[in-house]
Amino acid sequence: MVYLEEWSVFMSSVQDMFFNKPNKTRYSVKYRGKDGKVRLKVTDDQECLQFMLHPSQDLEKLKTINAWFLSNMAGLTVDRNAV
């Protein structure tokens, strides 16, 4: 499992994964109360993409990815540019 360093690379990889396998891809947010770390993970059961958020800095990134997944997963069609 790989932790990606660049947010833009992570988002484009995530979008590619979901676009290729929209029904297999799942997105999870893991919050550990002990140290407050937030980890984003997107996987299609074959490949796994992870990104670590920094506390108090990356709320906008979390909002972006939440909005993208909610609109694409709840919608009837898959839109790469949906936000």
Binding site: P22, N23, T25, R26, Y27, S28, V29, K30, Y31, R32, G33, K34, G36, V38, L53, P55, S56, D58, L59, L62, K63, N66, A67, F69, L70, S71, N72, M73, A74, G75, L76
Partner: protein
């Protein structure tokens, strides 16, 4: 796994974060459902949350206004994950200036 409506799901998720803020872990997972061999009655985005013991879930369909749910979810995560309060009240600090006595 308890299936809840969007509003109740937000409230229960907030409780999960509160209970695990000092110790423990909370996972929130989103997955698209609706196609495949098994056809569920509803299709949309299945959101699951767990702290390892309690499990809750919610289904957001295309007919539901997901914008409201998204705003509530972002506000909730901002508060519990990043410690950001949505409406912060700025308190005025009391003045520490002392009047100088002139003689």
């Amino acid at each position: 796994m308890v299936r809840l409506g969007p509003d109740r799901f937000i409230k229960r998720l907030s409780s999960l974060y509160e209970e695990r803020k000092d110790d423990g872990t909370v996972w929130v997972t989103m997955k698209r459902v609706g196609e495949g061999k098994k056809q569920p009655k509803d299709s949309g985005c299945l959101i699951r949350a767990t702290d390892g013991r309690k499990k809750i879930s919610c289904l957001i369909t295309s007919s539901y206004k997901s914008v409201d749910f998204e705003q509530q979810l972002n506000s909730l995560m901002g508060t519990h994950l990043f410690g950001i309060v949505s409406n912060q009240q700025v308190r005025k600090q009391p003045s520490s200036h002392k009047k100088k006595k002139t003689t």
